[in-house]
């Protein structure tokens, strides 16, 4: 599924319960023209900027990193992290590319529980 199709599908799914999820109203809330949002959903134009994708994710209750990945983008904060130690992170990501989800989850940082 393309970025545009995904956005349309999820927006349309929310619309029957809440008219705030019409193209016009969503476009207004994220600060773009309704016609532009329609074109994005149809795939007539490339996905919008990171800021607009984040705003769309917030509106639709979707994960911004997932939407950015679908749009072929890497968020600026991740770019900055990688730029600081490019070799290390490139190696790490390549090594982890086939690891199962549960193994990846173990690498993610836990909130530590202590003694209370």
């Amino acid at each position: 599924m393309t970025f545009g199709e995904y956005i349309r599908k999820h927006r349309e799914a929310l619309k029957p319960q809440d008219r705030r999820f019409s193209v016009r109203q969503v476009a207004q809330r994220i600060g773009v023209e309704p016609a532009y949002l329609s074109k994005i959903e149809r795939g007539d134009v490339a996905p919008p900027s990171e800021a607009k994708i984040r705003a769309l994710a917030e509106e639709l209750g979707e994960d911004p990193d997932v939407l950015l990945a679908m749009a072929g983008k890497v968020s600026l904060d991740l770019q900055e992290i990688i730029r600081k130690r490019p070799q290390l992170f490139a190696d790490l990501i390549r090594q982890l590319k086939s690891a199962p989800d549960h193994a990846l989850l173990r690498i993610a940082r836990d909130v530590r529980d202590g003694d209370w």
Binding site: H102, A108, R109, R112, G114, D115
Partner: protein, 333 residues
Amino acid sequence: MIELLNNQLSFRFPEVHQKAACSIDFQRTLRIPDDNREYPLPPGLGRFPVEHVDDFANKLPDTWRTHGGVFIPMYQSEALWINFSGDYPCAVKIAAGKINAVSGETWSNGLSADPQDYAVIPEQPWLDGFNVSEDFIRQFVAMPLGEGFTAEEQITGKAEHGGLQIIVYPMKHDIYVEHFERTVQADMDYLDMPAFLRRSVCESAPLDMGLAPGGLMRQEIYEDEYGIDAWDQDNGFRCFIHLANSEQYQMITGHQPPHQPATAKDYTEADLPWFDYYDDSKALAGSDTLGKLTSVAAKVIEKGKGLLPDNEPVQPKIIKVISKGNLVRDGEF
């Protein structure tokens, strides 16, 4: 495991079920007037920033390092509500200063059915305060530990713990499969499913805050319709959320804390919305222990300190009704 992502605690239980997960964040809000009138739900004004204790360990009290967990900045007399999200059913137990916010009992790991001392996600969308009577809570309001305002001090007579404590247990794998995954055959069946202290870096003021009971708000805490045996108590995760004095938060972290929220009066006069939530699920009775707590405003008077500032009654003009389908409770100011 618990991860901190975008100022939200993300609980995941991959050992139980691939979908077993829920998230909890802490919403900044107005302090509703503490005048024994009943108020609707105040708005969410965004998430409190949440930090790992371990990232600032050398600037924090030893007890915080021992507890682990996270901390958030709060101004004195500021209110918060706890926002739950996720589709996989989870039982969540919340305590303030190790006093259970639902039952009024002192902290223990594990769940209790009688009285029920936990809420069920996603049936319970949020929790704004202490369960003082059926259909009513008293708002969570931050007060310094050691002055006798917090629920902990009023119930135990001690200012020991402060903060918030949370433990989450996911629904057992087999029960989830039976209720939600067994077949997709009968849509109708689907609809019939049970809706189920020491001094800080700055030696001048105490760092630790606790939660005290504030104004009265209409909010139900729903009965667990799955039953206590539905919860996988071998696979819970818990987190200690310390409440840092907002003014000192910047000295600890170098980050600016959010500005103080608007007063209920200013917010209401700006014609901004309050909220009402409707759900016909059965509500729990209030806790007798919590029902006997003295609210912050009453305590201020009791201590002969005059009146609580910014506590004039307000008349919410715009009240938006929200339901399960639309849980947005955002306010802007």
